[in-house]
């Protein structure tokens, strides 16, 4: 590739920028984290440069404090020497790589080596004697210096010629690797570690096995009338949910694409609802319908003259709730696949005299395998991670996600047990992830080649159409009933006891008073509502950005270790939220990164939980853009950053919006990780709702949830309008920019 002369200049100024950032972080910004938050700027008034709590690194060292920070100056100073040098000079890359790596390494080593109680490891104490000093979590000063080291290092690597010497691409790869390591791998590893810690704070394998072999985890007594362990329960439930949601999802996809079903639009609209429904709501509605005093239970008890029972508590209840909640996800996965099977294949089969049923069984169905596997996997993982439904409907049917929660918050307060349970959960989901890849193998399922593909999907065979219709109809009716009940439930005084209609719950939650000082948000839900909107609004664009940059690297660049990179970025997809929550409190409750109780930890957890979806959306649309577009941009003298910004990004608007919508909605409805990470100051809507549920205040919980559903419907609607406009605009303005790959 031709390297334009401008690239040298860019490299120089980029290096200079990062060195300035590093020095600014070291000299001006407080090194340690602020208890009251950085942006309150209280630290300016607390002695700033001279107080050891608020001083920047440089001032700490000059005052003879925290002398272990001094070596960082050397690693920050040496690269200055390289600034004037030519990029091709051998010493240029050497200096940058060595200083970047040593600086970053030293920063991490001192962070882990010295903690709240001085030396963190006994062998350090043996070696150097007691330290007599300690340190807390790093703050923005540390963050800036760490970023400077990282990018100095990646520029050194780029100068050596990696990825065509492209500083943007190498920097982006380094950045993604660093954040995924810190916020995905490191928490998981610390959780692994804490599973081995005994009560006396020493490590022991015995402790792990004692907790791992617990009867409450692996017991099989349910085969003989007793109760089974949580691990078996979770596994059985997840397999059932995965299989049934896949079947139901396939049925609905077939109804929409291959029958003359009349309410297609209704069915599609209904699939959006459960996705934007906060947790518990479906569970609560099921209790109000099928519980011991539920309307349906009472009706049938009176009708048949039998005593009402608690049948819904346990496996049946959780199963119904999860099917309602997760079938739409399977449907959304499968509809693309069912539509994607090329009609010409099916026509070919019919020309070869296969009847409708044979065509469906031997051609259509096998071609849907990747979709079926994906749908099953999603249902499996969602069921494993689901927390709200088992909490309200579980009865004596213990599952891993709730057991983890109560190991942490209950009277037992056993972090080790929570870690062991979380590891079992993680093992299950990862195993499912691999089983799926294995089952799909390396066969090709592509039927869309970009060549002319006119044709119509055949209708379903008659024998299949009737049961498919019936099931779809029943499901629609059921979902409709549930949602009508939810809305109704938010307007009654005290469900089942006093059915008078009232606005009471909405007023308690969302009342607004107009006083002398302007608007006073007096409702009890406003705090968590605004926090939720704020966190969702901050994390959505960040998630989309991280996801799309990753997708760009995966589809457009080739570098060593790309498949490991892909695995790392997709890993958090297979990690249930409960596991993320537990691992985050274990990892980020102590220095060097001390962010529990802040808003940052919520934002970070959302980014890494939802990033894989951004990556997938990005990959999907980027593979539709032909590489010749990038190449022409590069040939015309743009660097890869400019190409990404000016060519790729504008063409990706639909993917960006999809990622935005998804991460926004998930940030508003997620509970499994959030429940561990909220604090008094940063309380989220879902955790407020769970508090109301625990307080037996169903009316308020349902009213709040209904409000959230409406808010999200509006948000999703707005974003969909935007997506539609972008599509139209592109077709009108430019002629044929979407070039099909292959073609």
């Amino acid at each position: 590739m031709v390297k334009p002369a401008t690239q040298k200049k860019t490299a120089q100024s980029t290096l200079l920028t990062w060195l300035i950032v590093g020095w600014a972080g070291f000299c001006l910004v407080p090194w340690y984290g602020m208890e009251d938050g950085f942006f309150s700027f209280d630290w300016l008034s607390w002695g700033y440069l001279f107080d050891t709590d608020t001083a920047p690194g440089l001032f700490l060292v000059f005052q003879g404090e925290k002398l272990w920070l001094a070596p960082l100056m050397v690693f920050l100073a040496a690269p200055i020497y390289a600034v004037g040098k030519a990029r091709t000079d051998a010493s240029y890359s050497k200096i940058l790589i060595i200083c970047g790596a040593l600086g970053f390494g030293w920063l991490i080593a001192q962070g882990f080596g010295i903690g709240i109680r001085g030396w963190q490891f006994a062998w350090l104490e043996d070696l150097f004697g007691p330290l007599g000093d300690r340190q807390f979590g790093m703050g923005y000063g540390g963050l800036l210096v760490a970023s400077a080291f990282l990018f100095v290092f990646t520029q050194g690597i780029a100068a050596r010629g990696a990825v065509n010497g492209d500083i943007f691409v190498v920097g982006a790869i380094g950045f993604i690797i660093a954040i995924v390591t810190i916020f995905v791998f490191y928490p998981i590893l610390s959780m692994l570690g804490s599973a081995f810690i005994t009560q006396e704070n020493s490590y022991s394998v015995g402790v792990f096995f004692e907790k791992f072999t617990d009867r409450r985890l692996w017991g099989l007594a349910c085969l003989s009338g007793g109760r089974c362990g949580a691990a078996w329960n979770s596994l059985a439930l997840a397999i059932l949910v995965g299989a049934l949601t896949t079947i139901l999802g396939l049925i609905f996809a077939l109804v929409v694409t291959r029958t003359g079903f009349r309410f297609k639009r209704g069915l599609r609209a209904m699939t959006v609802l459960p996705i934007i429904t906060p947790p518990f709501v479906i569970g609560l509605a099921i209790i109000l319908l099928f519980g011991l005093s539920g309307n349906v239970t009472r009706f049938f008890a009176d009708l048949l003259g039998i005593a009402p029972s608690r049948w819904v508590y346990g496996l049946p209840g959780i199963l119904i709730a999860q099917l309602l909640a997760f079938t739409p996800i399977a449907f959304l996965v499968l509809i693309g696949v069912v539509e994607g099977v090329s009609p010409s294949m099916e026509e070919a089969a019919q020309t070869l005299r296969a009847n409708k049923w044979e065509t469906f069984r031997t051609v259509s169905l096998p071609l849907m395998r990747p979709g079926l596997a994906n749908a099953f996997l999603l249902g499996f993982i969602e069921s494993m991670a689901d927390f709200g439904n088992p909490l309200v409907l579980g009865g004596n049917f213990d599952v891993l996600s709730t057991e983890i929660f109560f190991a942490i918050v209950g009277a037992q307060y056993d972090q080790g047990r929570a870690a062991v349970l979380a590891l079992v959960l993680l093992a299950f989901t990862l195993a499912a992830f691999y089983a799926q890849r294995f089952w799909l193998g390396k066969k090709s399922y592509t039927t869309m080649t970009g060549k002319g593909d006119a044709g119509v999907h055949p209708q379903l065979p008659q024998g299949l159409a009737i049961p498919v219709f019936t099931i779809a109809g029943i499901w629609m009716l059921f979902t409709l009933t549930i949602y009508v009940m939810i809305v109704y439930g938010s307007f009654v005084e005290l469900w089942g006891v006093n059915n008078a209609l009232t606005f009471k719950h909405y007023l308690t939650a969302f009342s607004v008073k107009f006083g002398e000082h302007g608007v006073h948000w007096s409702g009890s839900a406003w705090d968590s509502f605004w926090t939720t909107l704020q966190i969702a609004a901050v994390s959505a664009p960040l998630t989309a950005a991280v996801g799309l940059v990753t997708a760009y690297l995966l589809t457009r660049q080739n570098f060593a270790g790309k498949s490991a990179f892909e695995f790392g970025t997709m890993l958090s997809f297979a990690i249930p939220g409960t596991v993320i929550g537990v691992s985050y409190i274990l990892a980020f409750n102590v220095p060097p990164i001390e962010i529990t109780g802040t808003g940052i930890i919520l934002v970070v957890s959302f980014i890494f939980r939802n990033m894989p979806v951004g990556v997938r959306a990005g990959i999907a649309s980027m593979s539709q853009l032909d590489k010749s577009l990038d190449e022409s941009s590069l040939t015309l003298g743009a660097n890869s950053w400019q190409t990404f910004l000016n060519v790729i990004l504008p063409l990706l608007k639909p993917a960006i919006l999809a990622a935005l919508v998804y991460s926004f909605v998930r940030a508003m409805t997620a509970i499994s990780a959030v429940i561990f990470l909220v604090s008094a100051q940063y309380n989220m809507a879902t955790s407020y709702i769970i508090g109301r549920v625990e307080n037996n205040d169903y009316g308020l919980a349902i009213a709040y949830s209904t409000t959230l559903i409406v808010v999200m419907l509006i948000a999703v609607g707005l974003m969909q309008i935007l997506v539609g406009r972008t599509n139209v605009g592109r077709r009108m303005g430019q002629t044929r920019t979407t070039v099909q790959a292959g073609g």
């Binding site: 440069l49 001279f50 519980g291 209950g410 307060y413 037996n696």
Partner: protein, 340 residues
């Protein structure tokens, strides 16, 4: 030029620091229900003008946090939650002894709680164990009204009784310890085994059984009586029972954390929390525990401790972690594995 700028910044910073440092604040760890915690925090702010930074966690979690922060305490005062973890914190030297001038106004049980821990903790409220039942469901099922602990083991109540799992709930552990003290260790476990046959669900959280009963999802729930009263006061058809054999109780406690950064403010809060005015406000959030201040207003609906037969609950023995572990293991091995 550069130096003058720096000097100005430093001077400004110093000036600001002297004026700002005087703003009093208090870091308040709360282990009671959320709305009660909010009420205490805001109430103290209104009464004194001291800024309160409140964190609510269960008493077990707060104990773990205080222990973890022992070398660098962040909290000042810890209010609420059952007494066991407070006693344990006192035993491990995590809390500060303090003799409040308010002591003269308190009930004897609150003072004896303090004395058993070298004045490192004090009783702020207490609540007796008991059970509540849903009148409508009981009538519909044609069951007699239970009045004693032993009634709950009768076969006709099979599938109608709910209690929390002692492994995850302090309330249920108190139940277990009460039975052991009431009927002796053998008798107590025989009782738990007989009760096990009638239990329809061991819930995770302590007050869940009575909430389920309120909604009509369960008939009888074994809980602290003030939780049952709260459901009745919310409009649910719940009747509260003080069992005839006598019953155990908890003492909600308060402690000042050792090494508190705002010790004076913590003491101010401590004294304020023991006043009759502060304790009377519990009714605003439907907290029907018995207040430790004799002069505090109680609801007529609240259980009257003087009319309930209370056992001589040995907090020291049954609050110790060794005894707790032993009893829970025994319950796990001998009771929870039985077929129902």
């Amino acid at each position: 030029m550069k130096n003058t700028k720096r000097l100005i910044v430093i001077a400004a910073a110093l000036a600001a620091s002297t004026s700002m440092a005087s703003a009093a604040k208090l870091t308040f760890y709360c282990s009671a229900q959320e709305d009660w915690c909010q009420l205490m925090a805001r109430g103290f702010e209104e009464a004194t003008g001291i800024d309160v930074n409140m964190t609510r966690k269960s008493s077990g979690e707060t104990f773990a946090q205080v222990k973890a922060e022992a070398s660098n305490p962040k909290g000042d005062v810890w209010w609420g939650g059952t007494g066991d973890p407070h006693l344990q914190a006192a035993e491990e030297g995590l809390t500060e002894p303090y003799e409040s001038p308010m002591r003269g106004e308190l009930n004897d049980w609150a003072i004896s709680q303090a004395e058993s821990a070298d004045n490192k903790t004090i009783g702020i409220y207490s609540g007796a164990l008991g059970y509540g039942y849903n009148e409508d469901l009981l009538k519909a099922a044609g069951l007699p009204e239970p009045a004693c602990w032993k009634d709950l083991t009768k076969p006709e109540y099979k599938g109608h009784v709910q209690m929390a799992n002692p492994n995850s709930s302090g309330t249920a552990y108190t139940t277990l310890a009460t039975m052991v003290q009431l009927f002796g260790e053998e008798g107590g476990f025989d009782y738990m085994k007989a009760l096990h046959k009638n239990i329809n669900q061991y819930t995770k959280s302590g007050s869940a059984p009575i909430k389920a009963a309120g909604r009509g999802e369960n008939t009888i729930g074994i809980v602290f009586m003030h939780d049952a009263v709260k459901q009745a006061a919310s409009g649910f058809p719940i009747k509260v029972v003080a069992p005839c054999e006598g019953t155990g109780y908890e003492i909600g406690s308060m402690s000042i954390i050792k090494g508190a950064r705002n010790l004076d403010e913590a003491k101010k809060f401590y004294d304020w929390a023991l006043t009759k005015d502060a304790q009377s406000r519990a009714l605003e959030v439907k907290a029907y525990q018995v207040p430790s201040n004799k002069g505090a207003v109680t609801s007529p609906a609240a259980p009257d401790l003087s009319s309930i037969k209370l056992i001589d609950y040995d907090f020291k023995k049954y609050g110790s972690s060794a005894e707790r572990k032993r009893l829970l293991k025994k319950w796990d091995d001998e009771v929870s594995t039985l077929p129902q």
